[in-house]
Symmetry: C2
Subunit: 335 residues, 2 copies
Amino acid sequence: MKRQITIKDIAIKLGMSTSTVSRALRDHPDISPKTRAAVKELAALLGYRPNRIALNLRSNSTRTIGLIIPEIEHYFFSAIINGIEEIAYKNDYSVMVFQSNESYKREVNNTQAVLTNRVDGVLVSFSKETRDFSHFQKLIENEIPVVFFDRVTDELRADQVVSDDYQGAFLAVNHLIEKGCRRIAHFAAPQHLALGKGRLSGYHDALLKHNIPFNNDLIFHADTFETSRKVALSVLKKAERPDGFFTVNDMSAIAIIKAAKEVGLSIPKDVKVVGYENSKSAALSEPELTTIDQYGYELGREACLMLLKRLRENDLPAKPEKKVIRTKLVVRSSA
Amino acid sequence: MKRQITIKDIAIKLGMSTSTVSRALRDHPDISPKTRAAVKELAALLGYRPNRIALNLRSNSTRTIGLIIPEIEHYFFSAIINGIEEIAYKNDYSVMVFQSNESYKREVNNTQAVLTNRVDGVLVSFSKETRDFSHFQKLIENEIPVVFFDRVTDELRADQVVSDDYQGAFLAVNHLIEKGCRRIAHFAAPQHLALGKGRLSGYHDALLKHNIPFNNDLIFHADTFETSRKVALSVLKKAERPDGFFTVNDMSAIAIIKAAKEVGLSIPKDVKVVGYENSKSAALSEPELTTIDQYGYELGREACLMLLKRLRENDLPAKPEKKVIRTKLVVRSSA
DNA sequence: AAAATTAATGCAAACGATTGAAATAAACGT
DNA sequence: ACGTTTATTTCAATCGTTTGCATTAATTTT
């Protein structure tokens, strides 16, 4: 980088001290209008811009927030990042992005990186592998505000922003039942994630409401396209096949639709499917997918707003806040 | 943030000067093994980590790269970010993300932000609105290495990493012709983007190779789902409708497939479609979309590698480099 | 034993900005 | 005319680290 203009350059050229220049630029009342004008003029002429690094060092803050996220290449997360960046931008913060790639080890590295980069606060959605949270605990011990979103834990004293998984699942399963389904399979997320538990519980309670017995044989662990396809193929071939599916994400749902077609079943006539996420793909599948909108963009915004609030208050949460983002049933043709 | 352990803390506790501590930590040969061990032990015990901001100030570098991108919420770009972050991570750089949201004004702001944050280098894919490049010129004048990717311009002396748009388009159109198409429409990107021109030219030359006359009436400007749907609906209703479509991205292609179905045409029998991008949605559409894989992940990696190379060499490109990433035809069922 | 060499450590400036306190200069009251 | 305000400006320390040079202590050479 080219040598940048400093306050000292201006001071020398104008034959005054750096303090005067500094004060003039920030409209300190002690400075006479004449010198203030002179300083500002020269500063503009030379294209002076304050050195943020020096400011960072002095203020011990970077106006930067760290974002630790499993993978960007996933519609839901990219929608969240979009929301986060939006709020950060409006508040003159910058966002540093770190991907864990669903790897615990890498996530631990990410927390180190976030520490060495001295970010002011951190937004985290942890990896599927993560069971131990001491690396995040270390952030908290360093009094760096941390807000967890989507993938959260109660083991740490930290704010949370989550989608209303219970409500979303309830809406989805209730819809399937109202459309006539009685044997509803659930393709579930890992149960160590709160969202996995929440959705299962929403599924459970929707059945309960309609007096349909809960059957554990209808719960499958499948949260990727490939495994969902395989599981669906085997399940759909059985005599007692489900007449409805509620999945953890849209990819799984679309995999089921594909599998159903493959074995000659018609959707939504023979089998009904409700996904989760409302990704771009949901509107493109054939038939178009009924799904739960998670408002990823809004979730990102709220998470960032909560973090900024903590940064402003400059306190660690005595009692952590938990914000729940509504969900919405988007009815299309698959159920 | 909690007050962090500094070199001074260690120095005082050990009754020595900060210089000695600093040198001990960096294994300077002048330091005796005994004091070195003592320093390192205490540093580890106290959990000392060097203050990156202070280092930044001294070295005048931040080990951070700025990324200016139209929108994250788009498969191609998120794949690119993934590749960029991967390389940055491996080389101990951090990535700051700035979205332009396809807005010229915001993009100008992004370049300011990148400047005040004193990033070491910048990766840019500019917005559709951008016709004037003086904001990027300012970066270059400040001798900040800039690498453009995907959306590039020859107006600036800067490195470029692009997808082989000509080849991709040629492959796509050639495929359509070999499958029997003779009236091939092209849903094109804005022609002020180099990628728009490149693809049009690939389209043109593929026709030429098979002695099919170029017909300007078959070129449409449509690069979103909605406009593509509308254009396709009107075009497909005409008597002289195209028998093949080559689009600028997968969304447009899927819009055409939907429109074709709507007017009762069968794919690929009546109309064949080739998209561009190989997004996740491409594999999910019905029929599955034949498309051009752009290797977004690889493109991101290469762009980042090129930037890091410049940073290492610490020179501005006397002659800018241009790296072209191959493309691949992915044949599925739509053509 | 004095001089010269080597080893180990400390001093102080620097990176760019801010800021409390001190200093200077101008203006005022009596 | 002289002390007292008031207005402006400068000094110097600070943020945390690195590093050229000086310093001190220990060791070797003659």
